[in-house]
């Protein structure tokens, strides 16, 4: 046993270069935000000779970052909230009101896992145009609601661990089906809700394909979409583009630092059940 508890310093030495290489792209974008294009072209790897924050000022002036951040935040929060509610609600009758019909419905919903978003893309585009949902934030949110199927799957697995007697006893006490869900069942789902929130937040916050297709105007762009648009505009100015990248990565970095433990738990929990 002593061998496995003793720290093995040779692994520190072995892993040092591997870790540095993995981290290297992040080092690069940070140092190049402080340079001029000429400096970057001359030596992209070096540490900046002077600390020049002009790029940060320019990015904030030229890109509507706060607006895009707000859009990303709004779309993510509302979509995730709705998906969690819709998914949890759907699992409730499937688990506690089991029947042949509900088994069929479960199969129907789980089939959604096998349908790639890409396959539905063209009719979805047609549908969005017909309903005039293109270039509307709530239009994009509606598109994301297909993701409730994944939440439903997680919730269903977790709900099966709740004893059946619990809602039955509540019914005898005169509790309605409606209030049993909201007062008893839903609060018990907290751990799996955290997992669902993390998965769906990372998906929607980072998504590019759906915003690219369904949001056109700059004022509706999400952060990721804004980076895409800027890549065309700043084509030759790498330092400016890197600065935008660093700024856009800050929120996700904070999310990572705060939630690392939960993310890891979520991956493991979600994958084991998946």
């Amino acid at each position: 046993m002593t061998e496995s508890t003793r720290k093995q310093w040779w692994l520190d030495i072995l892993m040092l270069p591997v870790g540095l290489i993995t981290f290297f792209p992040f080092y690069l974008i940070i140092v190049n935000t402080l340079k001029t294009p000429a400096e970057t072209a001359k030596n992209p790897i070096s540490f900046p000779s002077t600390f020049n924050f002009a790029n940060y000022e320019r990015v904030f002036n030229e890109v509507p970052l706060l607006q895009s951040f707000g859009n990303s935040l709004l779309i993510t929060i509302i979509s995730v909230l709705l998906m969690v509610l819709i998914g949890a609600m759907a699992a409730y009758p499937i688990v506690f009101n089991a029947s042949k019909v509900n088994r069929l419905i479960m199969g129907y919903l789980l089939a959604g896992f096998l349908i790639p978003f890409q396959t539905t893309l063209i009719p979805l585009f047609e549908l969005m145009t017909t309903f005039q949902l293109v270039d509307k934030l709530y239009g994009l949110i509606v598109v994301y609601m297909g993701g409730s199927v994944f939440v439903f799957f997680l919730m269903m697995g977790y709900m099966r661990t709740i004893p059946k007697e619990l809602p039955e006893a509540a019914v005898i006490d005169g509790c309605s089906i409606w209030s049993i869900f909201w007062r008893i069942i839903f609060p018990l789902l907290k751990p799996i809700t955290v997992t669902a929130i993390i998965f769906q937040t990372m998906w929607i916050w980072n998504d590019f394909l759906a915003p690219m297709l369904f949001l056109n105007s700059s004022s509706n762009a999400t952060l990721v979409l804004q980076v895409y648009k800027a890549k065309g505009e700043f084509a030759v100015d790498w330092p400016l583009f890197m600065t935008l990248t660093v700024i856009v990565l800050i929120p996700i970095f904070i999310f990572f630092i705060l939630m690392q433990k939960q993310i890891v738990k979520g991956i493991v929990g979600g994958a084991v059940k998946g």
Partner: protein, 293 residues
């Protein structure tokens, strides 16, 4: 009374059935319907053309190249990410001073958007002399500039490199969780029998990772087939159509060129590819799990 309660229960299914049917199932059926017509998105007049769109798919060189690159990408990233993730997990499971910082470093690239990360790598792999990679290679080994993103083979390999870099840490976390669940006495028993560390890893650890591998490989394979952002940001699908993805084909032919029929046929073929490959992979790997246990 029982009927009323049952009805109240069923009401909870209304929102998901509504959204799912309208935004997933209906489009899937419609996609199939479009694929059999020459509908162009605008004119109300269209005819059934049978399987003509499906035949056309395989005569369109951009599409053929999109399918073959996507398959190559999915398989290559799955294999390489799996190898790196397992090695990484085995190392990160050991006890050393900088373990936690290394876990964070390897894990972090899987958190931001692939589009943004691929743009950063675009800077590193920039083909001109000032590109970071070319700069480094020149400085260290005196090698001249390499066309990382404009040579057909190098471009393909570059997209895979970025995908593996971004994904290995995430999958290592998955394996790590399973490693930590292996009872210590398995190893102690093996050690008493005189098994070396290497043999313990090979005969105890790796077989016990089989369930994790089934899940991880499935996620990698389906994710790989759905790839869009990394090649799009790195190479825009080029040079030519060398790194064109199926998703890009659907967007280009369907949305940009409004060839709804052709792009829908691509969508349906894509659906079948994902279905068949995933089914095949999961059933083979689950049988492997059973054999090990």
């Amino acid at each position: 009374m029982k009927l009323l309660r049952s009805f109240q229960y069923q009401l909870f299914l209304v929102p998901i059935l509504l959204f799912y049917t309208v935004f997933t199932i209906y489009p899937l059926i419609r996609s199939f319907f479009f694929s059999l017509t020459n509908f162009n998105g605008y004119s109300k007049q269209y005819d059934f053309v049978g399987l003509a769109n499906y035949v056309k798919l395989f005569k369109d060189s951009a599409i053929v190249s999109g399918i073959s690159y996507t398959l190559f990408y999915a398989i290559a990233t799955t294999i390489l990410t799996t190898i790196f993730a397992i090695i990484l997990a085995l190392i990160l499971d050991r006890n050393f001073f900088t373990r936690n910082i290394h876990r964070a470093i390897f894990f972090f690239p899987s958190i931001p958007s692939g589009l943004i990360l691929a743009y950063v790598w675009g800077f590193i792999l920039s083909p001109i002399g000032s590109g970071v990679m070319n700069n480094l290679l020149h400085g260290l080994f005196g090698v001249g500039p390499q066309p990382w993103l404009s040579d057909p083979l190098l471009a393909k390999l570059s997209t895979i490199l970025v995908a593996v870099w971004a994904g290995a840490g995430w999958h290592a976390v998955l394996y790590l969780a399973f490693l930590q669940g292996i009872p210590k006495d398995y190893y102690e028993a093996a050690a008493i029998d005189g098994a070396t560390r290497w043999r313990q890893t090979w005969h105890i650890t790796l077989p016990l990772l089989a369930p994790a591998m089934t899940v991880s490989v499935m996620l990698l394979l389906t994710g790989g087939l759905k790839v869009f952002e990394i090649p799009f940001a790195l190479t825009k699908g080029g040079p030519g159509f060398e790194t064109h993805t199926i998703t890009q084909v659907i967007v280009l032919r369907g949305i940009s060129e409004v060839q709804f029929g052709l792009a829908s046929a691509m969508s349906i073929v894509f659906f079948l590819i994902v279905l068949v490959l995933t089914y095949f992979q999961v059933s083979v790997m689950q049988r492997r799990e059973e054999k090990i246990q």
